[in-house]
Symmetry: C2
Subunit: 129 residues, 2 copies
DNA sequence: CCTTGACCCTCTGGTTACTGGAAGGTCTAT
DNA sequence: ATAGACCTTCCAGTAACCAGAGGGTCAAGG
């Protein structure tokens, strides 16, 4: 398979696939003409990576997950703890965003949003949250 | 005021303050020795920026907000619409994270997390969400 | 007067995970 | 032969800084 087909089948852009090769996540073969030649195994890895990324795992986490996936002697505890850490990070981000959201929604609610210059949003930013 | 004092009083690191000058958000004076010399007005702007950033506004949004703040003839509608857009972006991020969170929490729940290699998290990543 | 330590300066490079574009080789069909 | 769709590498840019190198400045103490 050439990169275009793999891109289509994995759902990842060609640029991303080349980048993943560059940082050593995959190692496709090369044809005589210099084109990358992907095996089913590479496609499978890329799909794995796409799903892990969609769950918000960092590239380094993905590297670890891939290594665990390919290690027959892994302990599921390793995977679980990685996932739990990530879950906590997600929770932290969510609550940070929710706190921003609450403040901002309040300010937006207070602002008339008309043609006058008077604005509680700017006032709040100017004075002290 | 030198940068150290401003950093303390604004709550922003010196590095960040220098960066804000570099991108034109503030324009402190210079003393004869080359040190930045901040007026109250600069400090005020920095505090404004710190609060806007804490609400998640991008630097470019902050630039706009600052300009609106200093424009006596602004219309509060401009500020409100900027804030509303940002609020929508926050909401989008929150729901994306919540969706990740739901999937991940389910997987974590399904994983025994023991010394055996069998792992539903890896299985899911390998097969298809 | 000299030194020490706490300041300050600029400049370069690194971070995350790609994306865009330039310049050019390859393949397929007409 | 040529057009168009592939593919290649390499360089630069994104957001918002942070770390560190290498060096100047200032106030206080010996």
């Amino acid at each position: 398979m050439n990169i275009g087909e793999v891109a289509q089948r994995s759902g990842l852009p060609s640029k991303t696939i080349r980048y993943y090769e560059e940082i050593g996540l995959i190692t496709p073969l090369r044809s005589a003409n210099g084109y990358r030649s992907f095996r089913e195994r590479d496609l499978h890895k890329l799909a794995f990576l796409g799903r892990a990324r969609a769950l918000g795992f960092s590239i380094e986490d993905c590297r670890t997950l891939l290594a665990l996936y390919e290690d027959e002697h892994r302990e599921s505890a390793q995977v679980k703890s990685l996932a739990e850490e990530h879950l906590q990070a997600i929770d932290a981000k969510i609550s940070q965003l929710q706190s921003m959201r609450a403040t901002l929604a309040h300010l937006v609610h207070c602002c008339a949003g008309d043609s006058r210059p008077d604005c509680p949003i700017l006032k709040d930013l100017a004075n002290s949250g």
